[in-house]
């Protein structure tokens, strides 16, 4: 393993395990240490230093690391629970309150964990993050378009028996994409830029809205009475958008 590969793998491990400020210090030290090592000793790198995983583990303080792991699992659970509900189509009538709670819980935990530190230099939002956010917004727009068509009866040349299946798959796929983006956002927020947490919040928002729409479509409520339900979806969506914006600051 050469120095570059070692450093790359070590950086991943360290950033995952240590708080940002500490990880920055350790990586700067290792950069210097590896820089001073003769290049002809690259073959003995793992033997002398230990694997990147071992080296990072030695520097890990258990308490803060376990606290992070618990928080991470909690935030992933906020994504997992609605995903399971969506895929098993097990909804109950009053899905608004639990979904709102999950959104607020996940969003709150995320905003607290990845809040900006004073004195941090402002850098442009990563390109990949911008594209991911735009992609998720496109998914949300597709859900809105599908719902609009369903309510307005725009699918005139579409067999009625396909309506349910189309709605189910659109919402399920959108929800899964939201959940996957949410996990990706969390991991990237920890190891690269804290603003990736915006992807987690937006992903959670998309997922929660999809579950609520699915619950509405699966209930026995007449579809013409959609307005009060739409208000709830819009309110939760707006809360999610605000959270996404805040995490990008």
């Amino acid at each position: 393993m050469d120095k570059h590969t070692y450093m790359r793998q070590f950086a991943w491990q360290v950033r995952w395990r240590l708080p940002k400020a500490e990880a920055d210090g350790v990586l700067a030290d290792y950069e210097e240490l590896l820089g001073q090592r003769p290049t002809d000793q690259d073959a003995a790198l793992v033997q002398d230093l230990g694997s990147p995983y071992q080296a990072a583990r030695l520097l890990t303080e258990r308490k803060p690391y376990y606290r992070w792991l618990i928080l991470f699992c909690g935030m992933v659970c906020c994504l997992l629970l609605p995903t399971v509900m969506l895929l098993r189509t097990t909804f109950f009538q009053a899905s608004t309150v639990p979904m709102a709670l999950l959104l607020l819980l996940g969003m709150g935990a995320c905003l607290i964990q990845f809040h900006p530190h004073p004195g941090t230099r402002k850098t442009p939002v990563p390109k990949a993050l911008r594209f991911s956010l735009l992609g998720l917004l496109a998914v949300l727009a597709a859900v809105g378009w599908m719902l609009g068509c369903l309510i307005s009866g725009a699918w005139t040349h579409w067999p009625p028996e396909w309506y349910g299946m189309t709605a189910h798959w659109t919402l399920s796929l959108a929800g899964i994409v939201g959940a996957a983006c949410g996990v990706l956002g969390l991991v990237r927020a920890r190891i690269s830029d804290r603003r990736w947490s915006a992807l987690y919040i937006l992903g959670l928002t998309v997922l929660v809205v999809c579950v609520m729409i699915h619950a509405f479509l699966g209930s026995l409520v007449i579809i013409d009475l959609w307005t009060p339900y739409a208000v709830k979806w819009c309110v939760l969506g707006a809360v999610g958008f605000v959270g996404t914006g805040v995490s990008l600051c």
């Binding site: 290792y30 210097e32 240490l33």
Partner: protein
């Protein structure tokens, strides 16, 4: 007294003589404890720094690149004395069994 304490004692003793930069410290300790990986030595060095027994500062050798040097603090000297006393007690105990 564990091997970890012995390495910490050596680290502090090394820095009592002169301020040293990271790679030099790791190299010298690794020579004395070849079975210990450098990452473990670095972790101990960082632990001493976090506990306030050493401090880190940036300096450069004549014309050379800027490096992070380590300096022992007063509490570091106290810690070194404490570890050294412990080591002597342990050595005396072993001597009473005819082991040293």
């Amino acid at each position: 007294m564990l091997k970890k304490d012995l390495i910490e004692l050596c680290l502090l003793q090394l820095l009592t003589a002169e301020d040293l930069y990271g790679y030099e410290i790791l190299r010298r300790i690794h020579e004395g404890f070849p079975g210990t990986q450098e990452s473990a030595i670095y972790a101990l060095l960082r632990g001493l720094c976090k506990a306030g027994f050493t401090v880190q500062y940036e300096g450069n050798t004549s014309g050379g690149p800027t490096r992070k040097y380590y300096r022992i603090t007063d509490s570091g000297r106290e810690k070194r004395d404490l570890l050294f006393q412990e080591w002597r007690r342990l050595r005396d105990a072993l001597a009473s069994f005819g082991l040293v």
